[in-house]
């Protein structure tokens, strides 16, 4: 009896799916990197609304988290299995995807629809534009800042926020003497979190022309002694992070900050939403990464880059994909995104007093007021070099490697990258 029921239900399921396939619905594959709340619900809702408005189109949504996304989207693109619409980081990450030749140029679309093209903060479109061709449009804008717990700082008697690295160190020392054994923490098991520190510190310490030369694949050498100094200073910061930093993830550390247990954390503006959403929300303030007194880089820059959507140029249903693409980036939906997610977006006017909170409005002001932005390190350099620095710094943090070994590995990686770029 059971077998018969099973056979009938299998047959039924098959016929239903066959019917669905036959119903003439166009399927669009959408891939993003937020399987967690609140963004996951937001995208579910947007997809549902889109499908309601466009009964002929079905959106097949899939998502995996950060590092896994970086790998999976590469795998999909390399195996020519490109999703119709997908999220991407900007700069070199985007450029790598573009190099595959499987990402759709948006120049046509932008020329056709001037209103759409003009609805974005233009400086945030640039990181998706290569050789005059735009391949992606930004959804979120971002920046990385030190976020501090105002109550803890007040209790520790810290009234002046650090504006130099030395002041940062003495702030951390003060917190330590006041009983906060771990005044600063980062989830160092996440390689990308390390790259955020290193990227900003390289930018602050080394002259811009040295970075430009080293970050370019064809000329990178990483022989400047400044890299060593930065790693030493990173190592110094790690000494304030306690014994567990290398086994924690960034999310765990952020949760500690939200729970009011951590005085200071290096956070993305987009992560403010997690603080806002929590019941234990500590009162918080933030400041840009301090300058190095002996640094040659511009301390006025803010590290951070937009993330945006791209489309496949091998899509079977380009019109439907474009429709969904525009729907995702419409002012109406990005405003909803700001309200639901609490992160800043690149569509002009989407962040307003009605759908956001004071810290986010200030964040937009900050992005507009800084001299410029510096890309994430792991997006700015070839991934082989980024990997050498990220894993190397991780091993420095655990005491398994020396800084000299890390520099040597990075230089070797740069040599490989250089030789490949020339061929």
């Amino acid at each position: 009896m059971f077998k018969r029921v099973l056979a009938v239900s299998i047959l039924l399921a098959m016929s239903v799916s066959f019917a669905a396939a036959q119903s003439g619905k166009v399927t669009i594959r959408f891939f993003h990197r937020w399987p967690m709340e609140p963004r996951f619900s937001y995208f579910n809702q947007v997809v549902a609304e889109f499908e309601k408005e466009n009964p002929g189109i079905k959106i097949e949504m899939d998502s995996v988290v950060n590092d896994a996304y970086k790998e999976k989207i590469r795998v999909l693109i390399s195996s020519n299995d490109v999703p119709d619409v997908f999220i991407t980081w900007s700069d070199s990450f985007a450029y790598n995807l573009v190099k595959s030749g499987r990402v759709k140029s948006l120049n046509d679309l932008l020329a056709r629809d001037k209103a759409f093209a003009g609805s974005f903060i233009q400086s945030q479109v640039k990181p998706f534009t290569f050789d005059g061709v735009t391949y992606g449009m930004p959804l979120t804008i971002d920046g990385k800042v030190f976020v501090y717990n105002k109550d803890i700082f007040a209790k520790a008697g810290i009234s002046k926020l650090p504006s130099t690295y030395d002041e940062l160190i003495s702030t951390l020392d003060t917190l330590k003497t006041k009983g906060y054994n771990v005044p600063l923490l980062e989830g160092l098991s996440d390689a990308w979190a390390i790259s955020h520190y290193l990227g900003t510190m390289f930018q602050r310490y080394l002259p811009a022309d040295v970075l430009a030369k080293d970050y370019a694949e064809a000329t990178g050498e990483f022989t400047n002694p400044g890299y060593r100094t930065v790693l030493e200073r990173f190592q110094k910061l790690v000494t304030y992070m306690g014994p567990n930093a290398t086994s924690l993830s960034h999310t765990e550390v952020r949760n500690q900050f939200i729970a009011g247990k951590l005085p200071l954390i290096y956070l993305q503006l987009a992560e403010f939403s997690y603080i806002q959403a929590s019941k234990t929300k500590p009162s918080y303030g933030y400041f840009n990464f301090p300058a190095f007194a002996d640094g040659k880089g511009d301390p006025g820059l803010l590290t951070g880059a937009p993330e945006g959507f791209m489309m496949s140029n091998t899509s079977k249903n380009p019109e439907a994909a474009e429709k969904f693409f525009k729907f995702l980036l419409s002012k109406e939906n990005t405003s909803k995104f700001v309200k639901a997610v609490g992160a800043p977006v690149a569509v002009i006017g989407s962040v307003n007093s009605e759908n956001s909170y004071p810290e986010l409005m200030q964040a937009i002001d900050l992005i507009n007021s800084v001299k410029g932005s510096a890309p994430w390190f792991d997006n700015a350099v070839n991934i082989k070099i980024a990997d050498a620095f990220m894993r190397g710094a991780q091993a420095v943090a655990t005491g398994d490697k020396t800084i000299d070994q890390v520099i040597a590995t990075a230089q070797a990686a740069a040599k490989v990258v250089k030789s490949e770029a020339k061929k």
């Binding site: 590092d67 970086k70 790998e71 590469r74 795998v75 693109i77 390399s78 195996s79 790598n96 995807l97 190099k99 595959s100 030749g101 160092l188 098991s189 996440d190 390689a191 014994p243 567990n244 930093a245 290398t246 086994s247 924690l248 765990e252 500690q256 991934i383 082989k384 990997d387 894993r391 190397g392 991780q394 091993a395 943090a397 655990t398 005491g399 398994d400 490697k401 490949e420 061929k423």
Partner: protein, 296 residues
């Protein structure tokens, strides 16, 4: 007469052909293709491949991470044989003992249960257990007065690989144990009865009857375990986020995956794949030749 002879010669071919075709397309062709790829440098993003001869192999010999990975795989193999095979056999022998026969099914199920849980779930679970903030392992150590032993298990280059190996043991010992239980159940009861009459104790019976009788299963499980140890991927990939901190808990399979899909060195990844293939092929040959003696 002749046509029948031809038919009887051709007919079996018809039966094996589908199998050969599937094997050819899904096993041998990719294998050969992979070996060819190992002589090229290419990116997953572009169709262009540059022939570089033995350059990838030269790089492999100089790659320190390969050494770390090999060392970790060897540790994996050694401990897995010790715990999964040797301890698995002991467990099986105890569970098959007459004195606890009534309780045996409960224990058997308990020990086998981890095997049916997906590795990813097991790794997430152990991620919580090892957590330095509120993980139960450190909390337990503190509770029993061994607080000095508490440490960031997955966050230290010295303990990460051992903590990872431990998870695999927890996950897989039950499987090997089950294989041994089956082997032990096949041993004729008379042997034990005779030994008992001769006055042999339990330990003695284990060494002179059980052990020799399951010898073949012992070899088979050893080879399976060792080969598996050189292919291990999920545990370090999930638990220590790709073999971290640094590269301290990396394995060959993780290094291959990251070289290919993270660092975009597809040719080099193929080269590592060739090494993994050679290692597992050697073990397969050992299995085929040395222990080809019986039904197991």
């Amino acid at each position: 007469m002749v046509s029948r002879r031809i038919r009887s010669a051709v007919e079996p071919l018809g039966f094996v052909l589908p199998c050969i075709a599937v094997l050819g397309v899904f096993v041998y062709y990719p294998l050969v293709q992979n070996m060819i790829y190992s002589f090229f440098r290419f990116s997953a993003f572009s169709p262009e491949k540059i022939f570089i001869g033995l350059e990838n192999y030269r790089m492999l010999l100089k790659d320190e991470v390969v050494l770390t990975a090999l060392r970790n795989n060897t540790r994996y193999a050694f401990i897995s044989v010790l715990i999964q095979v040797c301890w698995g056999l002991v467990l099986a022998a105890i569970l098959e003992d007459r004195s606890i026969r009534r309780l045996a099914p409960v224990f058997r199920t308990t020990f086998f249960l981890p095997v049916v849980i997906s590795v990813s779930v097991v790794c997430l679970l152990f991620g919580f257990i090892y957590s330095p903030i509120d993980g139960i392992l450190n909390n337990f150590l503190n509770l029993v007065g061994l607080g000095a032993w508490a440490r960031p298990w997955l966050g230290s280059g010295k303990t990460a690989i051992w903590a990872t190996i431990a998870v695999s043991q927890w996950h897989s010992t039950g499987y090997v144990m089950m294989l041994f239980i089956v082997a032990i159940q096949k041993i004729p009861e008379e042997l034990y009865e005779a030994a008992e009459i001769d006055g042999a104790g339990k330990l003695r019976r284990f060494f002179v009857i059980t052990l020799p009788q399951v010898k073949e299963m012992f070899f088979v499980t050893s080879v399976i375990t060792v080969t598996g140890s050189f292919l291990v991927f999920n545990e370090p990939y999930i638990l220590t986020k790709g073999g971290g901190p640094g590269t301290s808990s990396i394995t060959l399979a993780v290094h291959m995956y990251q070289s290919g899909f993270f660092k975009d060195m597809m040719g080099y990844a193929s080269t590592i794949a060739v090494v993994i293939f050679l290692i597992s092929a050697v073990f397969a040959v050992i299995q085929l030749t040395a222990f080809r003696s019986g039904e197991d």
